[in-house]
């Protein structure tokens, strides 16, 4: 049957893929934001797997709050993206080097 390790490995692979997505996507800020969403999904997967196997619903409460905060983060992130595009006419990550001096 499906063990806890299987779910944790799916979560770990998902986390690794989203980290790779942040590293290789230097051209498109929207895909970087999507990678953040995937990363939170991987963390939630671990929380729910442990919650289910330990038979303790408190892990799922935590996931509930993570989902709420992630929705807020996405809304603000996309708003920042829109004003960035209005000012720069681009969402290229490599263009955002003002602080490099």
């Amino acid at each position: 049957m499906v063990t806890l390790t299987d779910y944790l490995i799916v979560g770990a692979i998902l986390f690794g893929l989203s980290l790779a997505g942040m590293i290789i996507n230097r051209k498109n800020l929207i895909i970087v934001l999507m990678s953040v969403e995937l990363m939170l999904l991987a963390v939630n997967m671990n929380f729910i797997a442990f919650s289910s196997f330990l038979q303790d619903p408190r892990g799922q409460i935590f996931v509930f709050f993570i989902l709420a905060v992630a929705a807020a983060e996405t809304a603000i992130g996309l708003a920042i993206l829109i004003i960035l595009f209005r000012h720069r006419q681009s969402i290229n990550v490599t263009d955002l080097d003002t602080l490099k001096g």
């Binding site: 799916v10 770990a12 893929l17 290789i24 051209k27 995937l38 196997f53 809304a75």
Partner: protein, 198 residues
């Protein structure tokens, strides 16, 4: 047996669509694959008998957050050629880092390292157990302050998103009281001397 089959099919779908999200060049295609990934992980959460959160993921994420992503992707007039540059420059570094991290995590999660949990099969609650009821009982008693704080965070998100993107309209019809008070009779009233008819 059927549970194992469902798990492997949807785990493969989840990982495959997550890969397509990070390698696709078009933002719209990446957003569609992200929807597939959310739906597949909702099925996995159902297998873990977290029904409430699985449905919440579909309603809130696929229904609201991904719609927001779609709006933004289609609203921005992106120059597709500049986005399609090759990403091979950072690819070796990314593959190395991810292989290292996933390898360490998979080693750490061996069934032997998890104690008796590692050998347990996924438990099925009894037929009269309600996941939503159990979550609600905890959420509105022990975690009620955290719940209210989450509501405040969502309110702040609304205010911040509107405040950031709102643009002052150039031709709005607002009343300008200072201009009205400063107006004199000479500005507004003109007395014409018409010739009287005889």
């Amino acid at each position: 047996m059927i549970e194992k089959l469902i798990f492997y099919v949807f785990a493969a779908l989840l990982i495959g669509s997550a890969t397509m999200v990070i390698v696709s060049r078009q933002s719209v295609r990446a957003a569609f694959f992200l929807i597939v990934a959310f739906c597949a992980s909702a099925v996995l959460w159902m297998l873990l008998s977290a029904e409430f959160l699985a449905l919440l993921l579909i309603f809130v994420y696929v229904g609201a957050v991904m719609t927001l992503f779609m709006f933004v992707v289609m609203m921005l007039n992106l120059d597709q050629e500049s986005l399609q540059e090759k990403f091979v420059r950072y690819l070796p570094f990314a593959v190395l880092l991810v292989a290292l991290m996933v390898g360490v995590l998979v080693y750490a999660m061996k069934p032997g390292h998890l104690g008796e949990l590692g050998l347990a099969i996924s438990p099925h609650p009894s037929a009269d157990y309600s996941n939503t009821k159990a979550l609600g009982l905890l959420l509105y008693t022990h975690y009620v302050y955290a719940f209210e704080l989450a509501a405040v965070i969502l309110l702040i998100a609304i205010v911040a998103a509107i405040g950031l993107t709102h643009r002052e309209k150039s031709r709005n019809k607002r009343q300008r009281i200072d201009a009205q008070l400063a107006a004199t009779k000479a500005d507004r009233l003109q007395i014409l001397q018409l010739e009287a008819e005889k």
